[in-house]
């Protein structure tokens, strides 16, 4: 394919990777731990305001119905009830929820006229206590006129009439249909010796946080200003859209972040709950807290993950050389379309995986059904792509009689090919995929396991070994959200998707960092502390971290798309440069030396080559804060040592007009190799892990311990996706498992005794210090590896794994069928 458009901007990296670091690369204990592990965190439900009232929501029992009438008189009469709002009443004062699709789907914080999924809000009650609010919900009488329910994604493609969820978008539930071809797909398929074809099903699951989404809103009638405390992210990026929904100017909304905890994407924005709490607080004339309960969150949290059916083809040469892919995919988005097909923009970042495939065609049909809408979930659509391509590779190995390790080794992009432009136009910045593979193979005794597998089979036991070699793109540019839109849609120009921090040095020379995005369960404070300590050669214990609200915050995209560590490292590094320069200037006057002759030593600034001629950071800071005028005249040198720094996306380019090239939009690309060993009990369908190796390359590691934690946690998350988790809707659109007793996560008892983590470090040439993101990796690599291991275990029976999750019932059903067909 032509490469004319494929220019790679010059790197803006300022801090090169080093062979020896002061603070980076150390497995320092998390600075968040003391606060969180002693119960001192402030989560959404910990917020309490004077005179605060509590809200509960009445939810639709119907998947699709017109709201004929709502009688709230009995609820309003209940002692302790302050107000009851229907969707129609809320819509008089509050506009639709924020939505990034084009054209948008209209979603209100309380449904107006029509409900489109079970659990959608129909009315909300504000009362003196949550108890009374829930009692009142039971007293609201709603008459519904049921409409045809659409739950099957293939049926959704053809539904019309009353079965259409959003008739204003046309008489169809197809929200978007588009085929994009990258490279010479037809020619590559014509040149192929064989084409592997699989129908693959990736199930709907989601990030299910321990604390659900919550907001406590206050409306000040005197100033006309809202204050909303919430466990939202992106409040310093697109939080102003909540103000638009509430019909106030953005400066009349202050969003105060609470600790959000691990949410795995599900709290990416949380605009609906913030909008609802704000609407209710304004109506009630009192602060109002609304915290989703578990059923609220599972049925209506706007954060279900991808739900896809693929007809996938891989074209190969007989020697195993992979040439091209054709993917036809239907994705069930549920009842609304908040991020458009952002998840498929995301998947285009690495759709051909780590392999030297030169062309790909993707035929995407996004449909709307009567389910909770999709949101963000760890992987944001790329994890599905990893599953698809790895299943195709394994199928090709089977067909060609090739070894899965050698097949991968043959097709992995070689390390001298980076930076590498993959067929969609995205860039893989750096990598050494063969080194990752070799590291993983070095950690697992493959030969020994193959021997044990053979022995076990003689005893009627089924052991299997799987392998996946997958990409982990990190540091999104917002292009991914709109690149699939119809060309006639008003587009955007190149987005900066920045992250910001501010750093203040106190008069004793110690530092305070302010982040502009919330604590999200990762380790942002630890990352920021380590990077600042590196830059200023400062004791990490002398640095603390806080979080800005949206009144004081700078533009910050927040965590998501495995970008946060890279981006705050860039922002901290930039702020630290400003701090360093000012400290050097102050110190140069104090030491009567030229700034260029000075150096940072651990805890002080001194004259190079002159031991003892130095000032401690405390002395410099004190002088800068209080005694500036004691220093010689120095143009624009002012008191204090403070810096705010906005770090823009390190490297991104625009898509082409016709989208045959999507540009560079997700370029900081890590790699992983997962090798699980499982045993399947063929009588019960239960799967046990006998061993698990996961090797990741996320570039320069800021903290190997927390990164390993991410990998292990993500792997367990991936085990959930592979074996347990599935939002199960029945034919009438009822969510059958809206509780954590039925929606199953793996616990410690279901996970490998030791997920053995290995690291390879291939620094990025584009980010500060060469750091890459690593937050989503485990979940992006585990499902295909586990699927492969199970298929390998059941090879004597001829069982093929084409869908997830492989619950015991499903797996036993596949084995039963294979046995009936004479397998085994």
């Amino acid at each position: 394919m032509t490469r004319e458009r494929h220019y790679i901007p010059e790197s803006r990296q300022r801090e090169k990777p080093k062979s020896k670091y002061f603070a980076i690369g150390h497995s320092m204990k998390r600075v968040e731990d003391t606060r969180l592990l002693t119960g001192s965190g402030t989560y959404a439900d910990d917020v309490s305001l004077p005179n605060m009232a509590h809200a509960a929501v009445l939810r639709s029992p119907h998947a699709h119905a017109r709201i004929v009438s709502i009688d709230k008189s009995k609820a309003e009469a209940l002692p302790g009830v302050i107000c009851v709002m229907t969707g129609a009443e809320a819509a008089e004062v509050t506009g639709p929820c924020a939505d990034f699709s084009s054209p948008p789907t209209t979603q209100h914080c309380i449904a107006v006229d029509k409900v489109r999924h079970v659990g959608e809000a129909v009315a909300a009650v504000v009362a003196e206590s949550r108890y009374i609010a829930e009692d009142a919900c039971e007293l609201i009488e709603v008459e519904y006129d049921p409409l045809p329910v659409v739950v099957d994604l293939e049926e959704a493609v053809t539904s019309t009439g009353d079965a259409v969820l959003h008739p204003e978008r046309g008489d169809t539930n197809v929200a978007l249909q588009r085929t994009i071809t990258f490279g010479a797909v037809d020619e590559d398929f014509a040149a192929a010796d064989l084409v592997i074809e699989r129908r693959l099903r990736w199930p709907r699951s989601g990030g299910t946080p321990i604390e659900t989404v919550g907001a406590t809103a206050h409306y000040d009638r005197g100033t006309g200003k809202f204050t909303i405390h919430a466990n939202t992210s992106m409040y310093n990026y697109v939080g102003w859209l909540i103000a638009v929904s509430l019909k106030v100017d953005p400066h009349r909304l202050n969003i105060v972040p609470t600790d959000a905890g691990g949410s795995f994407g599900s709290k990416l924005f949380c605009h609906k709950v913030c909008t609802l709490a704000g609407t209710l607080a304004r109506a009630a004339g009192r602060p109002v807290k609304y915290l989703e309960d578990r059923i609220d969150n599972m049925t209506s949290g706007d954060a279900h993950g991808s739900d896809r059916l693929y007809d996938a083809q891989l074209a190969l040469k007989r020697d195993g050389t992979m040439l091209s892919m054709r993917l036809k995919v239907i994705d069930d988005y549920g009842a609304y379309f908040q991020y458009g097909v952002g998840q498929h923009g995301n998947a285009m970042a690495q759709v051909t995986g780590p392999y030297g495939i030169t062309s790909v065609e993707v035929d995407l049909t996004a449909v709307l059904t009567n389910k909770c809408q999709q949101g963000a979930y760890r992987g944001f659509g790329s994890e599905v792509g990893n599953f698809v391509i790895e299943r195709l590779v394994d199928a090709a190995c089977e067909e060609l009689g090739l070894d899965p390790v050698e097949m991968r080794r043959k097709n992995l992009i070689p390390k001298d090919a980076f930076p590498y432009i993959m067929p969609t136009g995205n860039m893989y910045d750096s990598g050494d995929y063969h080194a990752v593979l070799d590291e993983a193979l070095g950690m697992i005794d493959l030969e020994g396991w193959r021997k044990k597998q053979a022995e076990a089979r003689k005893e009627g036991r089924y052991i299997g070994i799987g392998i996946s070699t997958c990409q982990e793109r990190s540091v999104f540019s917002a292009t991914e959200f709109w690149m699939w839109n119809p060309n006639e849609t008003p587009g955007f120009t190149l987005s900066s998707s920045p992250e910001s921090v501010s750093v203040n040095i106190d008069p004793t020379g110690k530092a305070f960092i302010t982040l502009n995005a919330p604590f999200w369960g990762n380790s942002p404070e630890t990352m920021a502390v380590q990077v600042l300590a590196e830059k200023l050669e400062m004791d990490p214990a002398d640095i603390s971290v806080g979080y800005a609200d949206s009144d004081k915050g700078f533009n910050s995209s927040g965590p998501g798309g495995s970008r946060f560590t890279v981006m705050i490292a860039g922002a901290v590094s930039g702020a630290a440069d400003v701090i360093r320069e000012k400290m050097l200037r102050v110190a140069s006057h104090m030491l009567e030396a030229d700034p260029s002759d000075l150096e940072f030593r651990a805890g002080s600034i001194g004259v190079q080559g002159v031991p003892g001629k130095e000032k401690t950071l405390a002395e410099v800071a004190l002088h800068a804060h209080y005694f500036r005028l004691d220093l010689p005249e120095d143009h624009d040198l002012t008191s204090g040592i403070d810096a705010a720094y906005v770090y823009d996306h390190p490297v991104t380019t625009m898509p082409s007009e016709d989208r045959s090239d999507l540009g560079i939009f997700y370029p900081i690309v890590g790699h992983m190799c997962h090798i699980p060993v499982v045993e399947v009990d063929v009588e019960t369908g239960k799967v046990d892990f006998l061993d698990y190796v996961a090797v990741h390359d996320c570039g320069t590691m800021v903290n190997p311990m927390t990164l390993a934690g991410h990998v292990r946690g993500g792997t367990v998350n991936g085990i959930g996706s592979a074996l347990y988790e599935h939002f199960h809707y029945d034919e009438s659109g009822q969510l059958q498992n809206a509780l954590l007793s039925d929606y199953l996560h793996p616990t410690l008892m279901e996970t490998p005794v030791d997920i053995r983590v290995g690291h390879v470090e291939t620094p990025s040439p584009f980010t500060e210090y060469g750091i890459k993101g690593g937050g989503e990796g485990g979940r992006m690599g585990a499902p295909p590896a586990i699927a492969a291991a199970i298929e390998d275990a059941l090879k004597p029976l001829g069982v093929k794994v084409d869908s997830l999750p492989l619950t015991p019932k499903v797996l036993r059903g596949m084995i039963r069928e294979a046995e009936a067909n004479g397998g085994g």
Binding site: Y131, R294, T684, H728, N737, E750, K809, G813, R816
Partner: protein, 287 residues
């Protein structure tokens, strides 16, 4: 997820508790460990007007052997039963089943008697009680009566206990000397309610199986005794062939329900394999 309003009573004596039950009857629910009741309240799946908290009643937390019976009081927590040497001595089947009962924190609060009264069809202990000919000691303000396990478990979440009655104790006859017992279960995750659980006891007499009891949980509207399987085993020489035959009979004896976790075919498969495994283990433990 907040419970609907209810009145709360916390009697200090058994008589007081029984008087409250007599007064409120169907409108009341007994609160012991609360591990099933409280979630049901929070989900508003039940709307009792009155909760009678029996946690302060004295002398009901015993686990002991008396008159050849294992006696377990209404307030004996799962944790205490699980760890009791009396249980291991008198009821190897219960001892074998207990590791499958829920999770640590739930076992710390939940009670065996509450578990039996709740009669969740996927619960282990009703099946154990059925296999063991346990007797339920019920008391009300108007008197006491004893109900055998066979009659006690009447269907999903229902028992023969009257609205005014309290299960004050369960009595399990001491297992015959030499009997082997085993319990096998498949649940989605460790500690979850079973997809299917199978408990088996068997004795060996003159080289042949005798007096086997085979019970299943998770296969219908309450604990299920697979009599056809027991009959198939009676007098048979212990071994893979006999166990397979009994397992097939057990699988044929059930008419399991379906939900999204497990369909009927899957439950039948599990009864078949778990019965075979349980019998093999039980037979190997005969002495």
């Amino acid at each position: 997820m907040k419970p609907p309003p209810f009145d709360y009573h916390c009697p200090e004596t058994l008589d007081e508790a029984l008087a409250l039950l007599a007064e409120h009857g169907e409108a009341a629910k007994v609160l012991a460990g609360g591990q099933s009741l409280v979630p049901m309240l929070n989900l508003r799946a039940v709307h009792p007007e009155v909760l009678i908290d029996i946690n302060r009643l004295p002398g009901l937390d015993h686990v002991r052997i008396e008159d050849g019976e294992l006696r377990i009081g209404a307030l004996a927590r799962h944790r205490a039963v699980l760890e009791s040497p009396a249980v291991r001595e008198a009821s190897p089947l219960m001892a074998a089943a207990y590791p499958y009962v829920s999770h640590g924190p739930i076992r710390n609060r939940g009670t065996l008697c509450g578990n039996l009264c709740h009669n969740d069809p996927a619960s282990e202990m009703p099946a154990v009680a059925l296999a063991s000919d346990a007797e339920m000691m019920l008391q009300s303000a108007s008197g006491a009566r004893t109900v055998g396990a066979e009659e006690f478990f009447t269907g999903t979440l229902s028992t023969a206990a009257g609205a005014d009655e309290l299960l004050v104790e369960v009595r399990v006859p001491q297992a015959p000397a030499g009997q082997g017992a085993a319990f096998h279960e498949v649940s989605p995750r460790k500690g979850d309610f079973a997809y299917v659980a199978v408990g088996a006891v068997v004795s060996l007499s003159g080289g042949a199986c005798s007096g086997a009891r085979i019970v299943c949980a998770g296969v219908g509207d309450g604990p299920h005794r697979a009599r056809a399987a027991e009959d198939a085993l009676e007098g048979a020489a212990p071994g893979e062939g006999a166990f397979r035959q009994a397992a097939a009979a057990a699988a044929d004896s059930i008419d399991p329900g379906e939900d999204f976790h497990a369909d009927a075919d899957y439950r039948r498969d599990l009864v078949r394999s778990l019965t075979r495994r349980a019998l093999a283990d039980a037979a190997s433990r005969c002495h």
